[in-house]
C-alpha cells in the first residue's frame, strides 16, 4: 500500500499542540482560492513532475516516524486532503498503535468522518478546516454571486442547513463527544456561505470545549488580490464576528486579519 506524499516536516509546531511530524499528502478534491499549499492540490496522476511528490509505503513512513519518535508528541496527516486516502491512513494509524504517539488528521471536512468506524477509532484527533459550503474555487465564487450578504436570507439559511450544515453538525457533535476535535478553522470569505450564521452555530457547539483552538481567518488570496477583492470581509465584519464569538463564550479563539 502506497501513499503519495508531497513533503514530510519532521518537527512542526503548527499542526496541533506540541511537536509533531507533519506529513503532507498530494491531491485535494478542492481548489480553494486561498490555499497556502497549492502545490499539494493536483492529484498524483495529474501532478507535474516527480518533484511534486513521491510514494511512500506504510513501512517507509513508519521508518521516518521512528527516526524522530523520541522528540514528537504525534503525527499529523495534512496535505492536500488526507481523507482521499482513507484506507491508507487507517493502515498507517494501525501500524502506529503501539508507538505511543497521537495520530491527527487535518481535513477540509468534505467527506463524512464518523460513519467510518475504522477511521474514527484509529484517529486520535482532527484539525478541521470548515469550508462553509462549496469548494471556494474562484470559478465557483463567481458563479455563486447570488446574494451580497448570505446571512440576510432565511431561505438560504434553511437550504444551507439541509444541504450542508446539518450533516456537518452531526459529525461534529459525535467528534466533540469523543474529544477528538483539536482545532477548527474557518476561512472567512463572503459569497459562499452565511458567515455569521456558520460562526454562530459552530461557536455554540464548541463553547464548553476550552481545549479546542478555534481560528477565524480572513481570506488572503495566493497571488494577486484582485480576483477576490469583492469577497474579502471588512474590518467591521471581523469586529462584529469577534464580538459574537466572545459573547457566546468561546475562550480559546483567535481572529487572524
Amino acid at each position: 500500500m502506497k501513499i503519495p506524499v508531497h513533503k514530510i516536516i519532521p518537527f512542526s509546531n503548527v499542526d496541533g499542540i506540541g511537536n509533531r511530524m507533519a506529513i503532507f499528502l498530494q491531491g485535494c478534491n478542492y481548489n480553494c482560492v486561498y490555499c497556502h499549499n497549492p502545490e499539494t492540490i493536483k492529484m498524483p496522476n495529474k501532478a507535474k513532475s516527480c518533484s511534486d511528490f513521491r510514494y511512500y509505503s506504510i513501512k517507509d513512513l513508519i521508518k521516518e516516524i521512528d527516526k524522530v519518535k523520541a522528540f514528537i508528541r504525534g503525527v499529523t496527516i495534512s496535505g492536500g486532503e488526507p481523507l482521499l486516502y482513507e484506507s491508507e491512513i487507517i493502515s498507517l494509524f494501525r501500524e502506529m498503535e503501539s508507538m505511543n504517539l497521537t495520530r491527527y488528521i487535518d481535513t477540509n471536512f468534505s467527506k463524512p468522518i464518523t460513519k467510518n468506524k475504522e477511521l474514527l477509532n484509529s484517529t486520535d484527533g482532527f484539525l478541521i478546516d470548515i469550508k462553509g459550503y462549496n469548494n471556494p474555487d474562484i470559478n465557483i465564487l463567481n458563479a455563486n454571486k447570488v446574494y451580497e450578504n448570505l446571512d440576510e436570507s432565511d431561505e438560504y439559511k434553511r437550504m444551507y442547513d439541509e444541504i450542508y450544515l446539518n450533516d456537518k453538525i452531526e459529525d461534529l457533535k459525535i467528534l466533540l463527544k469523543l474529544n477528538k476535535v483539536k482545532e477548527i478553522r474557518i476561512v472567512l470569505i463572503n459569497g459562499i456561505y452565511p458567515i455569521k450564521y456558520l460562526v454562530k452555530t459552530i461557536s455554540n457547539l464548541i463553547k464548553e470545549h476550552s481545549d479546542i483552538r478555534f481560528k477565524l481567518i480572513r481570506v488572503h488570496e495566493r497571488g494577486s488580490i484582485n480576483k477576490i477583492k469583492n469577497y474579502v470581509p471588512s474590518n467591521a465584519q471581523l469586529d462584529d464576528l469577534e464580538k459574537l464569538v466572545r459573547e457566546i463564550g468561546v475562550k480559546n479563539f483567535e481572529v487572524t486579519r
Binding site: 518537527f11 509546531n13 503548527v14 499542540i17 527516526k67 524522530v68 522528540f71 514528537i72 508528541r73
Partner: protein, 505 residues
C-alpha cells in the same frame, strides 16, 4: 601560557578596560610570569605542547592559588551563618539575601567572581512570605548580581519543583533581561512541575535562560551536584581544581595516518596532559596553602576531598573531519554515520586512557580525572580550527531532528559538562509545548544539557555564557564595556560566527 612585562604594560595603558578588569588581568599576568619548569616541574615536552597549541591551559595560571571552580554549600550558610564573615544565620528573606551578597564577595574562582551562587529557589523557599514584597527583593537581588559580578560565568541553579520562589525568580529574570547570572534548571524527568517548566521555556525563548540540566543523569554521577560557570557539573562543597584542554583539531595535524593518531599522537598527548594536571593540582594543594588557609574550608563550605580534575577537549569535529580526509573518505562530522563512529572511537580511547590514570587529591572520583566538553575561548589562531566540545560547527548544522539524534551520542562522555545550544524562531512562543517535547525527548535520549534562545533576543548564548549583542556592538566601536564576557563573546563570534547560529523554524 606565559606572560611578559609587555603584557603588563599594555593592560595598564589600555583605554577599553575598566579598573576592575585591569586589576584582575594584572593578577593573572603576575602568576603567569613565573617559570612553570621551576614552579610546577613541567618538562620541556609539556611546555612544548603548550607552545604548539595542542595543550592549552586557558591562561589559568602557573602559580595556582585557588581552585578554578568553587561550589560552596550554601545550605550551610543558611543553617549556621558564617563565622569568618560574621554573618548570622538568616531568619528572613532579606537576611538571606544579605548573607548571600556578602558571602559571594568572598568566593573565588578563575574569574575572581563566584561561578556558582546556589540553588536559589530551594534556598529561598522557606523564607517566602509575601509574594509581592518578596518579588521586589528577589528582582533587585538578581540585578545586584548582574551589576556587581561583571562576568556571566556566574551561574545560579533552580530546581524543577513547584515552589513559589522558583516562579518569582523566573518572572524576575524575564523582566531583567541581564546576561548575569547564567541560570540552569535542574530538570528531574520523573518529578517536575509542568507549569513551571512551561514558564521556564518561555523565559528561555525570551532571555536565553534558563538552560536545562538532566537531573537524572547528573544525580547518578554525583551525590550532590551544581551547574557552574558555562555548564560544568561539579560536586557541591567542592568543585574543579583545574581545566586544561586538548585541542583535538590541532593535535590531529601532527598525525600522518589514523594508525599514527591512535598509536602515537593521541596517547602521548593524553599522557602529557595527565601529567600536567597532576602537577597543577599538586602545586595548588601542597604549595599554595589554599586549603589550609581558606575560611571556606575551615568552616566546611567546601572540602578538599570534593574537588575534581577536569580533562578538557575541544575540536572533536575538526579532528574527525581531518582524519576522514587523511583516509580519503567523504564525510563531514554532523552529517555522516562514519564520522560519528570515528568520533565515538576517539572519545572512548581517551576515556579509557584517562580512567586508567591515578590522579592526585581526587578521592571523590576514585582518582580519575573527568572529561569535559570545553567550549572555547579565542586565545590564539588555533582556536579557529577547533569547534567547541563535541559540537558541529556553525554553518554545518543539519536539520534539528538529525542534529539532536547526532549530538545525543556524545553527551555521556562528559560528566563534568557539555551541552548544545539551539536558536528557535518566534513561532515557538505560540506553542511552547513543542519546545517542551523537544527538550523532554532529548533528555530521554540522554542529553545532559540543553540551552535555547529566541532568534530575536538581544541576549545570545555564545558557547556557554551569555552576552548582549548590543554590548558587543559597543565593544566593536571601542567603547568600554563592563562585562569581561562581552569581549570573549565578540572574539568567539568573529571566529565561530555564533551569532549566526542556524535558526530552527
Amino acid at each position: 601560557m606565559r606572560a611578559t612585562l609587555e603584557d603588563i604594560k599594555s593592560v595598564i595603558e589600555s583605554d577599553v578596560l575598566t579598573y576592575e578588569q585591569k586589576h584582575h588581568i594584572l593578577a593573572n599576568l603576575a602568576e603567569r610570569m613565573l617559570d612553570p619548569e621551576e614552579l610546577l616541574g613541567y618538562t620541556k615536552e609539556e611546555i612544548k605542547a603548550h607552545e604548539e597549541g595542542v595543550i592549552c591551559d586557558l591562561n589559568e595560571g602557573i602559580g595556582l592559588y585557588r581552585p578554578r571552580y568553587i561550589l560552596p554549600d550554601y545550605n550551610l550558610l543558611v543553617k549556621k551563618g558564617c563565622k569568618f564573615l560574621e554573618i548570622e544565620k538568616p531568619n528572613t528573606l532579606e537576611e538571606l539575601i544579605n548573607a548571600l551578597m556578602i558571602f559571594y564577595k568572598h568566593v573565588p574562582s578563575i574569574t575572581s567572581f563566584p561561578v556558582y551562587i546556589g540553588e536559589l529557589d530551594l534556598l529561598m523557599e522557606p523564607f517566602i512570605t509575601n509574594l509581592d514584597k518578596d518579588f521586589i527583593l528577589i528582582k533587585s537581588f538578581l540585578n545586584y548580581i548582574d551589576k556587581v559580578i561583571s562576568d556571566s560565568f556566574c551561574h545560579a541553579n533552580i530546581s524543577s519543583k513547584n515552589t513559589k520562589a522558583g516562579k518569582l525568580i523566573l518572572k524576575a529574570i524575564g523582566e531583567l533581561n541581564n546576561p548575569t547570572p547564567n541560570i540552569t534548571m535542574k530538570l528531574d524527568l520523573e518529578n517536575y512541575d509542568s507549569d513551571l517548566l512551561n514558564t521556564a521555556l518561555e523565559t528561555s525563548l525570551k532571555v536565553a535562560k534558563p538552560s536545562f540540566a538532566n537531573d537524572k543523569i547528573y544525580s547518578s554521577e554525583y551525590d550532590d551536584y551544581g551547574i557552574a560557570s558555562c555548564y560544568n557539573g561539579l560536586p557541591i562543597a567542592g568543585g574543579g581544581y583545574t581545566l586544561p584542554r586538548i585541542r583535538l583539531g590541532t593535535l590531529v595535524k601532527r598525525a600522518n595516518s589514523e594508525k599514527d593518531f591512535f598509536e602515537n599522537i593521541l596517547p602521548s598527548y593524553i599522557d602529557l596532559m595527565l601529567s600536567i594536571m597532576d602537577k597543577r593540582i599538586k602545586y595548588l594543594v601542597e604549595e599554595s596553602n589554599f586549603f589550609k588557609s581558606s575560611f571556606l574550608v575551615k568552616e566546611g563550605f567546601i572540602s578538599k576531598d570534593r574537588f575534581i580534575g577536569m580533562f578538557g577537549l575541544i575540536g572533536l569535529s575538526d579532528c574527525v573531519n581531518k582524519l576522514l580526509e587523511i583516509k580519503g573518505i567523504n564525510g563531514v562530522f554532523g552529517k555522516s554515520e562514519e564520522a560519528d563512529d570515528l568520533a565515538i572511537k576517539i572519545l572512548e580511547f581517551i576515556k579509557i586512557r584517562v580512567d586508567k590514570h591515578k590522579g592526585v587529591y581526587t578521592p571523590y572520583t576514585g582518582g580519575k580525572y573527568i572529561l569535559h566538553g570545553q567550549v572555547g575561548a579565542s586565545l590564539m589562531d588555533e582556536d579557529d580550527f577547533n569547534t567547541p566540545a563535541h559540537r558541529i560547527s556553525v554553518g554545518n548544522e543539519p536539520e534539528l531532528p538529525e542534529h539532536l539524534n547526532q549530538a545525543a551520542k556524545f553527551h555521556e562522555f562528559f560528566p563534568s559538562g557539555t551541552g548544545d545550544v539551539f536558536r528557535f524562531d518566534q513561532t515557538y512562543f505560540n506553542n511552547i509545548n513543542a519546545l517542551k517535547d523537544i527538550l523532554l525527548g532529548s533528555f530521554n535520549k540522554n542529553f545532559r544539557y540543553l540551552s535555547f534562545y529566541g532568534a530575536n533576543s538581544d541576549l545570545v548564548r555564545v558557547t556557554g555564557y551569555l552576552v548582549k549583542r548590543s554590548e558587543v556592538e559597543k565593544l566593536k566601536n571601542n567603547e568600554v564595556v563592563r562585562r569581561s564576557t562581552t569581549a570573549f563573546g565578540k572574539g568567539t563570534n568573529e571566529r565561530a560566527r555564533v551569532f549566526d547560529r542556524k535558526e530552527v523554524k
